[in-house]
Amino acid sequence: MNTERMTNRTESDFEEFRSKTDQGIPFSDDKRVIIADDERLLRETFAINPKEGCSLLFCRYYDSLCSHAIRFVHSKEIAEDIVSELFASFWQERSFDQVTSSYRAYLYKAVRHRAYNYLRWKVHLTEPLDSISLTTASKIINPDDELLYSELHIKVEWIIQQLPPQCRRAYLLKRVEGMKYEEIAKEMHISIKAVEALVSRALLRLRTDLKDNWFLGFLLVPMF
C-alpha cells in the first residue's frame, strides 16, 4: 500500500491502525465503549463488591434470561432453575473475574449452552456433541455458534407450530405450564390417556425432527 502519496505520513504511522482493524476492533474505539457502556456501573460495582455486583446482575438479567431459556427447554420450572444455577455458579466460580466481554453477552451465551445441553438430553441425542468450556467461550468466537443457537429455538418453535392444535395445546400445558395430566384432561375434556398420547406424540415429533435436521456443523472443539 503506497501511503506516501496519500498523506505526508509514513507507513509506520499506519502500522498501529492496521493491526487494530485486523483484530476486528473498529477504527473508532469510542463506538465499542458506547455499546458496553450501559454496564459500566456494573463493572465498577464488581471491582469494589462482587456480591453486590452479582445481585445487581441477577436483578437486571434474570427475567429475560428465563424467557430466553424457555424457548429451548419449554418448561417454566426448568428455565428458572437453569438461570438460577447459572447465577449460582457465576458467583461460586468467580466467573466475573474472567469475563472479557460484557456480562450480558457472557450470561446469554452461558444460558444458551445450558439450555441446549438440557434439550439435547431431553431429546436423547446420542452423538457426543461436546461444548467448549464457558470461560474460553468468550475468547474463541465461531460465528456460526450464535446463529445456530438462535436457529435452534426458532426450529423448536416451528416444530411445535406444525403440530396439530390439540397436540400442541396438550404439550404446552404439560411442559411449559407444568400442569398435571388430570388437570389437562379436565380442561381439554378428554381422557388422561388421550393427554398422555398427545404429549408423547409431540415429544416424539420434537425428537425426530431435531435429530433429522440436527446441525452437523455443531461440533465444537472441546478445549481442555
Partner: protein
C-alpha cells in the same frame, strides 16, 4: 454492509422471519468479533420486548441472596423433583412391565457376561490397593470399592471405567488425546485427558476432588461442570450439589493412608463412614450419643481398630449383635 445489520434486522432474524440470504449476511457480520456485543445486546432487548413468561424473580432473588451470604445450597433441588415426576409417568404405563419382563430374562445372562467383558478390580475391606491400568493410569482403590475396566479394547478406542466406592486416579495423557471416563452411576460421569483426581461414588452421594489438570463433570439431566485444580464437588443422594475450594484437604485424602479425619464429626457420621469403608453396620440407639462430636486424625485398618479408638475417646460400650455392632454409653451422659 454494516448499515444493513440493524436492530430490526436482527429482531426479524430472532423471529425466524429472515431468508437464508439474510442469514449469510449476519454470519459474515459476526465474523467481526466486535459485533458480538451488539448481537447479544439485541438478543436481550428482543427478549425484553417479547417475554415468554413472567418468572417469580422475588423468590429466586431471595434464594440467590442466601447463596451469596453462604447459607443456601445451589439451586439444584427443583429439577430432581420435576424430572423424576416426568420420567415416572412416562414409564408408568406398559413400559415398566415390559422392561421388568425383559430384564428378568436378561439378568441371568447378564451376570455372567460382566465377568467376561470386564476386569473387576476390588479392594479388600480395610485396605487400599493400587493398580496399573493398560494405559499406564495409576489407580488407588479405597477399601470396599470396585472398579470395572473393559478387558477388550481399553485404551484403543475408548478408556471408560466404572467406579463404585472411592478411588484416586492418576490418568496418563495419551498421544491421541483419547478421553478417560469414569462412570459413577445415576448420570454422573467424569471426563479427563490426563489429570489427577479423587472420585467417590456411593449411596450417600458423589464427590470429586481435583488435584491437577481439568475435569469435565457430567451431571444428571444434561448438566455439566468444568472443574479447576483444588476444587471439590460434592452431591448428596438427592442430586443437590455444590462446588467449593477447600483449604483443608486432609478430610478428602485421608483414606489413602488408612486414616480417618474427623473434624467436629458426629458419631452418626462416623458410623456411616465405617459402613462405607469396612462394610460393617453400626447402630447407635441413643440419640444423644449419635450426636456426640469427635475430632482428630486416626489410623485404622479395620473396624475393630477404629472401635478401640472410639472407646478410648468416649465412654461407650461396643456390643456385637447378629447383624450389626451397637454402641451405647456406659454411664449416664454427662455434659
Amino acid at each position: 454492509m454494516k448499515e444493513l445489520i440493524t436492530r430490526e434486522f436482527l429482531f426479524d432474524f430472532f423471529d425466524g422471519k429472515t431468508t437464508s440470504i439474510q442469514r449469510k449476511l449476519i454470519e459474515d457480520w459476526l465474523k467481526n468479533a466486535a459485533n458480538e456485543e451488539m448481537f447479544y445486546s439485541c438478543v436481550h432487548e428482543w427478549e425484553r420486548l417479547h417475554p415468554q413468561f413472567s418468572p417469580d424473580r422475588q423468590a429466586a432473588q431471595k434464594n440467590f441472596e442466601l447463596l451469596l451470604e453462604g447459607q443456601g445450597e445451589s439451586a439444584a433441588k427443583h429439577p430432581g423433583l420435576v424430572e423424576k415426576k416426568i420420567t415416572r409417568s412416562f414409564y408408568s404405563r406398559g413400559g415398566l412391565w415390559f422392561a421388568a419382563a425383559v430384564s428378568l430374562l436378561m439378568l441371568t445372562t447378564f451376570i455372567y457376561r460382566e465377568q467376561i467383558i470386564f476386569e473387576i478390580y476390588t479392594s479388600p475391606l480395610g485396605q487400599t490397593s493400587s493398580f496399573l491400568l493398560a494405559d499406564s493410569t495409576q489407580v488407588v482403590l479405597n477399601s470396599n470399592s470396585t472398579l470395572k475396566v473393559p478387558r477388550f479394547g481399553f485404551g484403543n478406542e475408548a478408556r471408560q471405567v466404572q467406579l463404585h466406592g472411592e478411588a484416586e486416579f492418576k490418568v496418563t495423557h495419551l498421544q491421541n488425546n483419547l478421553r478417560f471416563r469414569v462412570l459413577m452411576g445415576e448420570g454422573y460421569q467424569i471426563e479427563v485427558l490426563g489429570t489427577e483426581f479423587t472420585a467417590f461414588s456411593r449411596a450417600s452421594g458423589k464427590r470429586v476432588f481435583l488435584s491437577k489438570g481439568k475435569v469435565k463433570l457430567e451431571l444428571p439431566k444434561g448438566k455439566r461442570l468444568y472443574m479447576k485444580p483444588g476444587s471439590y464437588f460434592s452431591a448428596n443422594a438427592q442430586g443437590d450439589f455444590k462446588v467449593t475450594i477447600p483449604k483443608e484437604t486432609l478430610a478428602i485424602t485421608a483414606w489413602k493412608e488408612q486414616t480417618f479425619y474427623f473434624d467436629n464429626t458426629q458419631l452418626s457420621e462416623v458410623a456411616r463412614q465405617i459402613q462405607e469403608r469396612f462394610d460393617v453396620t453400626v447402630k447407635i440407639p441413643d440419640k444423644n450419643l449419635a450426636k456426640t462430636c469427635i475430632g482428630g486424625i486416626y489410623k485404622a485398618r479395620d473396624a475393630d481398630e477404629l472401635f478401640e479408638i472410639l472407646s478410648a475417646l468416649l465412654e461407650i460400650e461396643i456390643t456385637q449383635k447378629s447383624d450389626c455392632i451397637e454402641l451405647r454409653t456406659t454411664k449416664s451422659y454427662e455434659l
